[in-house]
Symmetry: C2
Subunit: 405 residues, 2 copies
């Protein structure tokens, strides 16, 4: 008998029929002899509807109250799923983030899990119950409800899998697995049977919407076997493993694109020590993640600093940067929301020189201008204009012949 | 500076405009110098919509999961109201039943408050914050979410008023106060300026939808001044006080009608000791309240037992009674859902003989058949056919000239 943690996303539980379908899958798994903990997101558009409700009241909801509001979405879906499983005759209990003991920091709307007090969960499993857990949410040590930000239910699932030492963590979604590129953009994109934690981490961070990077990080750190599978069919999906366990190490496993970044440039920043760190520490303090950074040294001891962040932090970052203008004495703030980051990822890249050059050539042939570049051992990213993103992804996919196994 | 607990019902927060209106009222009260704790129900039809969602999944949701589901309604409204108050520039925090420390028994969907651990609430008040509390909900000592059943937000408000020793508990609703009869049925019904706890308790128990009986009980027990007021105007409302504090003690203060009862008759029950208690103890065990009871002794040592309960418990009670058939060896079970209970209530009734007789005469003149009668010191109730209920209420209202002060 195995212990499995599953996660079902919002589209898998979008309406009562789909909830019944998920209930059936869970019950079958249980009857096959496994112990099942299922983490569930809010139904379909529920979260957006709640955000709209808040929007009717204010443009700037306090984040604590925002979390109080949107965490109800998952509470509704776990209760309904538990009802559906009960209807099929299995013992089941639903638990909120608070009840399952998910303790987070107090960075509301993008909180991080600090620990999981899994006593209650293990108690319920010991009673042989199926346990349904509200994803995306936790509580601070002061008992205030938090949410984990985008993709938080994945993080909940992996963190639970670690806490209760599950054999595998299965992420159920509306796609069959991880592809070489977004099939909506590249027609001949191919499903990968397996991929390394490192590659998946890069893909997730780069905007492939299948898994949340934090969840992959946790899985990698604790060596939790992850699977991405469809909740609508029985396809094998994609397994995420150690490099050493892969069928084959690819030079390039996939190409991905993130259109949710925005670019800021601070022009004419005095070249004194501590200026750049001041900018980035103020952003970090409110939980804004900076992605790509370039600093050009000019004449007259002034610099230009260019960097990118998530679109959702745009307004907050903008006002922080405006406020810093007098303190830092920079000349001008420029922003550009029409940018996209295309990236290639491959575990075999570090031992195969010339991969980045081939990517740049493919972009050059398509007359795509590269604004920023960043690289790691297993990825190369280029910031380009947003309206050229799809053709760029396709050109790179063709260059590396990713449609072929 | 006073400490006031307010309660706003679902119609007072039915949409974002009304939520803003309530926020404005609360902020004005705060700025006038009072400390304000506001208990809020779910927005308008939210609870019914959630119940419909459950209905798409199953006809028999486990009550624990049902509470998990519908308690989200209040969590949404408190978060939105807190956002609206924050938007007006006042410090505010919303708290769920769990966060505010409302501990209940585990009778899900009709739980009773056992105690309130009000530390958090008092902490937030000490920080000079407005506190918005989710009504209708609590948690068991095992941390499972419970709901208090119909009118539970009133109970939350009064119990909180007691816990933090508030000066007054104001129940805001969509009517101006307590009337001599339902104005939708009796055109010339008159608003009462004040009424005694005892009368209000009877009225509440008898189906006047203004206040929940449990809330009046608690207010009476701890001598908490209650007011029923409209959230749409500044009318003075109705104050609920000790009899000794009333402007005038009425022989009959009001006439009310409850169409939510159903009648069961067990025919041919063997006349042995313990039979009746068996029936009623089995119902009590699952939290079903029995209201009126009649037992007729027949020849041949068999009885007929007739009693009424809430309509919402009909199905559960029906199956319990069916199951008891063999054990108790009764002959037949009859039920009637088309009944209504009309009642008169008056603190001066006990010292004015002949009141019940006048009520029966008024019903007789209208050719309304009386099926059951029950009385207390300050009320007389008659069970009649449901389709005669409205005319019966009007006839009684006229008989006692309740439109005149």
């Amino acid at each position: 008998m195995g212990l499995v943690v599953q996660k079902y996303g919002g589209s898998s539980v979008a309406d009562s029929e789909r909830i019944k379908n998920v209930a059936q899958r869970i019950v079958e798994r249980k009857r096959a002899g496994d112990q099942v903990v299922s983490v569930v997101s809010a139904m379909g558009d529920t979260t957006d509807e709640l955000i709209d409700l808040a929007g009717e009241i204010t443009d700037n909801p306090p984040k604590r109250e925002y979390d109080m509001l949107i965490s109800t979405g998952e509470q509704v879906s776990v209760a309904l799923l538990a009802m559906a499983i009960n209807e099929l005759g299995e013992d089941v209990i639903s638990l909120t983030g608070h009840q399952v003991g998910i303790i987070t920091d107090d960075l509301h709307s993008k909180a991080k899990i600090l620990e999981i007090e899994s006593d209650r969960l293990e108690e319920e499993l010991a009673k042989d119950k199926i346990v349904i857990v509200a994803g995306f949410q936790g509580v601070t040590i002061d008992n205030d409800i938090t949410t984990l930000g985008r993709g938080g239910s994945d993080t909940t699932a992996v963190a639970l899998a670690k806490a209760i030492d599950a054999e595998v963590c299965e992420i159920y979604t509306d796609v069959d697995g991880v592809y070489t590129a977004d099939p909506r953009i590249v027609e001949n994109a191919r499903k990968l049977n397996d991929i390394s934690y490192g590659e998946m981490l890069e893909l997730a961070s780069l905007g492939a919407e299948v898994l949340h990077p934090r969840s992959v990080e946790i899985a990698k750190e604790y060596n939790i076997k992850l699977a991405v599978r469809s909740s609508f069919n029985d396809s094998k999906g994609t397994y995420i493993k150690e490099v050493s366990e892969l069928e084959k190490v690819n030079v390039v496993s996939g190409v991905t694109c993130n259109k949710d970044e925005v670019k800021f440039t601070l022009l004419g920043v005095p070249d004194k020590p501590g200026i750049a760190s001041k900018v980035f520490s103020e952003l970090a303090e409110v939980g804004i993640n900076v992605d790509m950074i370039i600093q050009n040294i000019h004449y007259n001891d002034v610099n230009d600093i260019t960097f990118t962040i998530d679109h959702e932090d745009f307004e907050q970052a903008h006002s922080i940067l405006e406020e810093l203008k007098d303190k830092l004495n920079y000349r001008e703030l420029i922003s550009d929301v029409n940018v996209a980051k295309v990236s290639i990822v491959g575990a075999g890249m570090s031992t195969n020189p010339g991969v980045a050059a081939r990517m740049f050539e493919a972009l050059g042939r398509g007359e795509v201008n590269i604004e920023m570049i960043s690289t790691s051992e297993i990825k190369v990213s280029c910031l380009i204009e947003e309206n050229e993103a799809d053709q760029a992804v396709e050109a790179i996919h063709n260059e590396f012949e990713l449609d072929e196994e």
